[in-house]
Structures are given as C-alpha cells and as structure tokens.
C-alpha cells in the first residue's frame, strides 16, 4: 500500500501529473459549461449585456410536462432496453464463447457507428412504414392484408428502436473489454461448487462486469436523449413526437426571417433540463464505482479468460448476431448502397433496377472536397483519438487510483459534456472563438481544425473515462504496489505495467473515438470555416443540399474506408482482427510478467 495512492485527500508528487492534466481538460469543460449557463441569463447574444430570466419562464409549459419529457423518457429508456437486449448477449458470445467468425462479427459491429444516423433512420423508414415500408409490403402480401399499420415513424417507441440498434455497439464495446479480462479462477470456483453456466453468468460474470454495463447503459441513455437527427426524421420534426433534443434544435434554428437570430438562451435551458436526469444516473453510477475493489478482476496472479464451448447452440448464437447485424448494419447499408446507385431515390422495382448506375460515384473525390478535406479528416480523427485516450487515462487514474478529494467532482464534471447537447457546447466554443479573434488575434481558434478538435475531445471525454474507469477498476493495485516497492515512479508504472494490461481497452477507445469523430457532424458543421472542412461535413452538406445520391455514395465510401482503416489499425496493433476485443493483445504483456 503506497503512500502516494492511499493518503486520504493527499496530492503526492506521483499524482501531481495526472491531476494537472485532469484539471487542464476539466477547466475547459468548466469554462464551456459556465458559458452555456450564462447564455440562459442573457437576453440575446452572449456578447451583449443584460440579464433576464425569460428563457427559463418561456420553456415552462404544460406541453413540456405532458409530452416532451415523457417522450424523452421513453426514447431514453427504450434505447437502453433495445441496446442492452442485443449488446449484452453479443458481448458474451463474441468474447467468452467459441462462437465461429468472432473477429468478423466484432469488426462489423465496430463499423456500425460509422454509418451516419440519419442514413440509418432513412433506411428504417424505407423498411418499416405503413405506406412504403418494404417489410410492411412483404408481410402484407404474405398475410393477405392491404397494409400493415406498423411504422417506426411518429412514435417514441419507433425512435427508441432505431436509436437502440444504433447505440448497441457502445454497450457492446464497454462490456467486451471487462469480459475479456475476468479472472477465470472466479468462474472456475463457481463451476467447482456445481453452478451451471447460466447461473455462473448471472451470479459471477455479470456482477463482475457491472461497472462496464452500467457505464454503457448510462452512456446510451444520455446519447439517446441528446441526439437530434434521428428523432427529427422519425417524428420530432413534425411535432408529433417532440423530445428535448428537438426542442433545443428548433429554439436555436427557428427558420425563416429569423434564421439569422439565435435563441441559445432557450437551448441552454433545455440543455440544463437534459442534464438533470443524466446527472442522477451518473450519481448512481458513481455509487457503484465507489465499491470499485469488488470489480478488480485482474490481479498479479495471472489470468486467461475461459471460453465456453457452445456446442450445437453456437449456430443459434451466430443467428442472433447475424440478426442484429442485419437490422443495424446489413439492411441500412443495402439502403445506402441502393441510394448511391440510383440517380433519384426510388423504392426497389423492376423499373428502378433498370436505372441503376455509378453516376453518383463520378468525381466523388472532388465532390467531397478533394485532398484538403481528407487530410483535415485524418488529422482531426488521429488527434482527437489520441487526446481523448490520454486525457481519459489521466482523469480515470485520479478517479480510480487515487484518494484525491476532488476525484468525485472530477468524475461528475467530466461526464457533464455528455449531458449537455453538443450543439450548445459547439456554440459556446464558437462564441469564444469569435471573442478570441477580437481580443487575442494571435490565438488560432476560430475556423481552425483545433476548435473542432477541442469540441470533439470534450464531447468524447465522458465515454473515454467510462472505458478507462472500467478498465482501471479491474487492475488490482498489488501490481503497481510491487513496482512501487521496487522504486519505480508513477509515470513508468503507467507506461510499463498499467497501459499494457489495459491495452485492449485503450485500443477500443482509440478506434471508437476515431470512428465517432469520423462521422460526427453537428459540432464540425457548426464550427466549420473555409479551411477546416472534414468529410462528414462534406457529406452532410451534400445531403442537405439535396444531393442524396452523391451523399449516399460518399457515405458508402466512408463506411468502406473505415472498414479498411480498422483492419489496418488492428494489424498495426500487433494482433489479429480478434484483437479488437483484446483477447490476444491483452494477454501478451501479462504472459511476460507471469
């Protein structure tokens, strides 16, 4: 037990570095948060003086209580249910069993988040709609009905279904890492006392990965309630299913002659309302994490996860994973591919088949912005994933491995950006950028890649710290205590002992963050200038400009690129494709230490 980590509330030299880096990133969060809150009390633009409470009084209405908040709750909890329904069994099947094609399945799940959400929503409208839904038409013709009144549109449950499918990979990846690193002796002990597989899973495995699961569920809830595009396409924009995220969007961009006038005060109020339930969920999560030692499943005594042989059941497992991939990736990708090959989007028919062509792919590279956009995207994606991993590790180190008095506050603060809509944060950054160009013209912020990178890093920190918290919580302190006894300094311990042990989680985080940055559009669009365009913004601009075919072609290219990129990264990481879940990659360093 070292003094550097156990002295209550003490800031030792060993912890000074992680603390400094943690507060650096949290200072940015605090400034932006203060700015968002400040916006709710100023009458107009934040650059103008004045004080008002009208933004708060304006949003208080019966509609908010009877429609907006209930819809938001259904969307949030529904997405959790759908996401967990698919992600938890898949995490177990692909990490703790002998299921065939695990590497391929894992890679495909990894690709899912790259497909833009609005494209997936479009795909689901084409699949499940009373009038034009392919599934409806097939079912109606099989059952002899004129139509099947089932639709993903205009219902909070439909929105929850699509969001749950889209967000399931988040839970999958958050749970997959811990599942790989569970000490097999615990499960073996359960087996010795005669527990069945399912009982072991329920009473031993699940409680051990509980922080990962809880982190994933909270993440999904917060994301689901703050996403705008998908609810908008599926009913929020028509006013039939208003949710808090759509209320924010429409208060920011009312349209018409008012388009040049922001109403960010209202957006800040809605953002605060959205943050409230998320903060409650966060409190619960922190309570669980307080008993962190219960979940320390990696010790210096060695581990190698045990894989369950499913035998004849493995094909049912394969069927389950294939079903998810078909619903979340296969069918929407087909729709995307179809849209990219059609001059004008039409429902599949013999007539439509005769119109298939590659016209939308002609001059696609130039159409997306050429080399400049591609290089911007690469720089952004790499820098964001590296910075997020670094700062997440630092914050999580302080939260999980030290007794610093501020650690709980830090863990709360770092989660806040996920609760505040990204648009509000992007606005705050944009305003700071404008002020900087006025008062600090030497600071390259406004219109640079840097400002988008800052927005992305802040926005991804909650996820990054969930991954790192979960991973660090499982590494027993005895390993670093051994090193400390030998006189090894904290940075060396981090680099040579902890990081190799949590390498699978770090790889998840880097890949996942890179993919999310790759496809993120709201903040990048808001902060874009003449020199910092990225690929996702180019595709969005094409889509919004009515060039759906070219946008779809760009999205297909984006998905294909990401797939190749992922394989490349995994190979560079030194493991096979299965290394994405850390089986091989994670085991190697420990073998050396054994």
């Amino acid at each position: 037990m070292s003094a550097s980590t156990r002295r209550p509330g003490g800031i030792t030299t060993a912890n000074a570095l992680p603390l400094a880096f943690s507060w650096l990133i949290l200072a940015v969060v605090i400034v932006l948060l203060a700015f968002v809150l400040y916006m709710t009390f100023v009458p107009s633009l934040p650059t103008e003086p004045g004080f008002t409470l009208k933004h708060w009084s304006n949003v208080a209405s019966s509609r908010l209580l009877t429609r907006v908040i209930p819809n938001t709750a259904i969307v949030g909890f529904g997405a959790i249910f759908v996401g967990a329904f698919f992600a938890l069994p898949m995490a177990w099947l692909l990490n703790r069993t002998t299921l065939p094609l695990r590497a391929t399945f894992t890679t495909m799940i990894g690709i899912t988040p790259v497909i833009p959400g609005f494209i997936l929503a479009m795909g689901w409208i084409m699949l499940l709609d009373e009038r034009i839904g392919l599934l409806n038409n097939v079912a109606a013709s099989l059952l002899g009905f004129s139509s099947i009144p089932l639709s993903v549109k205009d219902s909070p449950w439909g929105i929850a279904w699509v969001l749950g499918l889209i967000l399931a990979p988040a839970i999958f990846f958050l749970v997959a890492g811990p599942l790989c690193r569970i000490d097999p002796s615990l499960e073996e002990a359960a087996s010795v006392v005669g527990m069945r597989h399912l009982t072991t899973l329920r009473r031993v495995t699940l409680p051990l990965v509980w922080p990962g699961i809880l982190g994933g569920l909270i993440y999904v809830f917060m994301t689901a309630v703050s996403i705008f595009e998908i609810p908008a396409l599926l009913g929020a924009a028509s006013g039939k299913v208003p949710v808090l995220a759509s209320e924010i969007f429409y208060s920011v961009r009312p349209g018409g002659p008012l388009t040049a006038t922001f109403a960010y005060g209202a957006a800040g109020v809605y953002g605060t309302l959205l943050a409230a339930p998320s903060l409650v969920a966060l409190y619960v999560y922190l309570r669980v994490l307080e008993r962190t030692e219960r979940y320390q499943v990696i010790t210096g005594k060695g581990y190698r996860p045990r894989e369950t042989d499913l035998g004849g059941w493995s094909w049912i497992g394969v069927g389950f994973v294939v079903l998810y991939l078909a619903l979340a990736v296969g069918l929407p990708l087909l729709v995307l591919l179809w849209a990219s090959l059609m001059p004008v989007l039409q429902m599949p028919s013999r007539e439509a088949l005769s119109k298939l062509s590659f016209t939308n792919y002609d001059g696609l590279f130039e159409g997306l912005g050429g080399f400049g956009v591609i290089s911007n995207t690469v720089v952004l994606v790499l820098s964001v994933s590296l910075f997020v991993s670094f700062f997440s590790f630092m914050v999580s180190w302080v939260v999980v491995r030290t007794q610093a008095q501020s650690r709980k506050l830090m863990d709360m603060l770092v989660m806040v950006p996920h609760a505040i809509p990204s648009l509000a944060f992007a606005f705050a950054l944009a305003m700071l950028g404008i002020l900087a160009s006025r008062w600090l013209p030497w600071l390259p912020l406004s219109g640079t890649l840097g400002i988008i990178a800052v927005a992305h890093v802040i926005n991804r920190m909650p996820y990054g710290t969930r991954v790192m918290n979960s991973a660090l919580a499982q590494v027993h302190r005895e390993l670093e205590e051994c090193a400390q006894v030998c006189g090894t300094k904290t940075p060396t311990i981090m680099r040579t002992i902890i990081l190799p042990l949590i390498k699978p989680s770090v790889i998840y985080l880097v890949v996942w963050t890179a993919m999310l940055s790759f496809q993120e559009v709201t903040m990048a669009l808001f902060l874009s200038g003449p020199h910092n365009n990225v690929l996702s913004v180019s595709i969005w601009v094409l889509w919004e400009g009515g060039n759906l075919g070219t946008a779809a072609a760009g999205a297909v290219a984006m998905v294909a690129t990401t797939g190749l990129l992922m394989f490349g990264i995994l190979r560079l990481a030194g493991g096979p494709t299965a290394g994405l879940v850390g089986r091989e990659v994670g085991a190697a360093p420990l073998t050396k230490s054994q």
């Binding site: 006013g239 006038t261 912005g369 003449p530 919004e544």
Partner: protein
C-alpha cells in the same frame, strides 16, 4: 422688297440659329471660364471628354479595385451549400482570369441560415469576419445589413456596368441587381420560387390544394410534407389585402396538424419521389434537379393561386473584411453571365434577370401559370412586414408560426 428679303431670311432660320447658339452658350458657360484666357478652347475639350468619360470612369474604378485586390492577395467567400464542390475550382480560376488576378481564392460551401447568425455575432463583437464575402437570402441579408455587417460598395453602379455586360448593354437594369435597402450593399445573383411538388402517381394536378389555407383540409391529412422554416408562410401578410394575423396563424396551425411530416425541402421532395407523401411545399429548382437526373421521375409542380414566395440570393462584402477589394470584385462578378455559366448547369437555380434557358423557363413558367409571385423587396408593404418581423412582437409571431408549422 427689302422688308420681304428680311422676312425670307428669318424664314430660312439663319438668324434664329445664331440667336439660339449664342444664348445657349451664354447660359451654360460659367462666368469665371468666360473671363479666363483660353476658356473657350478648354470648354470644347471638356465637352468632348465628357462623351467618352462614362465608360472610362468605370474602367478607372475597376482598375483601381483590381490593383488593391492584388495587394490584398486573397479572398475568402461563401458559396451556396447546395453547390457542388467541383464548382469551386472553375469559379476561382475564371474569377482570377477575368481580372488578371494572381491571388488565393478560397470558396466554401456554407449554409447561410447558420452562418449569418455567426456573422452578426462577429459584427457585434467587433471581430474580423471569417469570410470577406457572404451569400444569403434577402431576409438574411437584411438582418446582416441591419446589424451593420455589410459594407457599402462606393460607385457600385459604374463598377457593375463595367463588370457585367448585361448591365453595360442595358439588358439588365441596376435595380434588378441591387434593390431597396440593399442597393449598393448587396448584389442579387440567383433566386427561386416556392411551389408544390407532387407525385403524379399519387395525386392529380386538379386535386392539389389551390391556396395555402386549403392545406388544412382534412382530405390532405398526412399527405404532404413541409419544411420547418417559415419561408412558405411568413410572406403571407404581405400578399393579402385584408389580413388578420391570428387567423393566418390558425391557417398555418391547421396545415401543420394536417401535414404528414416536417422535413427539409430536399428530404421532403425525395420522399415524395419515393411515394411516401403525395406532395411537398418546396421550390422550383428541385423539379429541375430531379428531372435532370431522371426524366421519367413521377413528379410535377403547381403554383398556389393565392401567393408564391420568391427568395432572392445576394452577395455582400462584410464589414471589417480582411480583403474588401477582392471581395467586392467577387461579389460583383458573381452577377455576371460568366459566373452563372459555371454554377447554373449543376445547381439549376434561376437568375431572374439572366438570359439562359433556365432563366427563360423560370420566367415563362411563372408567366404561363399566372402565378402570383412575391418577394421581400418587391414593394414597401413586403418590406414593412419584414421589418416588423425584426421587432419583439414580430419575433414572437414568427416563433408561434414556426411552432404552428409543427402543428403546435
């Protein structure tokens, strides 16, 4: 006989001619010139020079602007978010070539509705603008202008005449490029008109609503989509002789409740083509775009009988622009047929004063259908309504309208 000769001489006009010329010179000649030695000679030369000065004044101004633009070395401008990125290079190259410039030209696709809010914030903060030149709709530009975000171009009349051959030849009037409060501040270069686009397989032309009020008819329940922005409705108060604001809001609300979805126009049009909705409130360019890609697409268009909003797009040079001269050149050049020939074939929006096939079809379509088209800067009443929307009361009204569109 002598008296008779005098009368004949008068009748031949010699004597009155002399009288007229002398009196005319006396009237026009300033006294100090008459008194100055050699003044008569100078007067003749100035009179001759005056005849040739009109075109050379524009040329001089243009040369001066080009010289300054070369010194600035760069221009950063926005182009429509709907324009393809493949247009950027030819636009930049042709612009440089036209004025013999060797400067860096950066053009960025920007959604004006989003950027103008930032532009106003930049102006209010006293910060230099991100872009030297911005393009936006008439209503957006009016707000930027009102916020002090646009810069007046001095001698714009002479410059436009020098740069745009249509103006120089007299085919296009100056007020077609710069009108109302935006005269000399912003320069119109394209426009679109609102209309109904419908799926011919789902609904016939005769079954479409004739007026905006008919959109609330139960027979159209769930059959159409409209965009979340208020542009299809907010010009209504300027279109009717007798107008009741609350009643109009009810009309919008009924239509909002009756609609199938609220979607961006482009998405709405695509879903009409897909067959999800029978018709959509959109704009004319989508028709051309869809037919350009698929001439057999099952769609048609119809104008409303009561009114159809015209949205004009302007380029404006920003206040405190880093490169104001190059920006001015770009804003004025974008009004020319040379620029139009680059962007129009792919974007397919019309230039109301242009002479291309699209422009002629645009005007003919409106003329043939006898559609009542109205724009914000067309008359004082429309302009007054736009100004009223800038007041607190007007803003609240528009907010209510935006909610009404979503059926609230």
């Amino acid at each position: 006989m002598g008296r008779l000769r005098k009368i004949k001489a008068l009748a031949s006009g010699v004597i009155p001619w002399c009288v007229l010329v002398v009196s005319w010179l006396a009237l026009l000649m300033p006294l100090q010139l008459v008194m100055r030695p050699g003044a008569e000679t100078a007067l003749v030369w100035e009179a001759l020079a005056d005849a040739a000065e009109a075109p050379s004044k524009g040329k001089q101004l243009l040369d001066e602007l080009v010289r300054k633009a070369k010194q600035e070395g760069e221009v950063v401008a926005t182009i429509s978010s709907s324009w393809r990125k493949t247009l950027i290079q030819p636009l930049a190259d042709t612009f440089r070539k036209r004025f013999g410039l060797d400067i860096k030209v950066t053009l960025a696709n920007v959604e004006s509705s989003q950027h103008f809010a930032m532009a106003i914030a930049e102006t209010q903060a006293g910060a230099p603008p991100t872009y030297d030149v911005v393009q936006g709709t008439d209503s957006e530009t009016m707000q930027l202008h009102g916020g002090g975000g646009t810069q007046r171009v001095e001698n714009w009349e002479a410059l436009v005449a020098e740069i745009n051959p249509l103006v120089r030849s007299g085919k296009v009037r100056l007020d077609q490029i710069g009108q109302g409060p935006l005269r000399g501040q912003s320069f119109m270069f394209m426009a679109n008109v609102k209309q109904l686009i419908y799926n011919t397989k789902l609904i016939s032309e005769k079954d479409l609503p004739r007026t905006h009020a008919e959109l609330g008819d139960p027979k159209y329940k769930g059959k159409f989509s409209q965009p979340p922005w208020t542009t299809h409705w907010d010009i209504g108060p300027a279109a009717f002789e007798k107008f009741n604001r609350n009643e109009w809001l009810d009309v919008v609300r009924r239509a909002g409740k009756n609609g199938g979805a609220v979607l961006y126009e482009s998405a709405g049009v695509q879903r009409v083509v897909l067959g999800e909705f029978a018709f959509v409130l959109a704009q004319d360019r989508y028709m051309r775009q869809i037919f350009g890609k698929d001439p057999k697409a099952p769609i048609g268009y119809r104008f409303f009988d009561d009114y159809n909003g015209l949205t004009s797009f302007y380029h404006s040079v920003r206040t405190r622009a880093r490169h104001p001269s190059a920006g001015t050149l770009f804003a004025l050049w974008m009004t020319t047929p040379e620029a139009q020939a680059i962007w129009q074939p792919s974007d397919l929006q019309a230039v109301p004063y242009g002479d291309s096939a699209i422009d002629r079809e645009f005007r003919l379509g409106i003329e043939k259908s006898k559609a009542r088209v109205i724009g914000w800067l067309d008359n004082e009443k429309a302009l007054e309504v736009l100004k009223w929307y800038g007041t607190d009361e007007g803003r609240k009204y528009l907010e209510a309208m935006a909610r009404a569109i979503r059926g609230e």
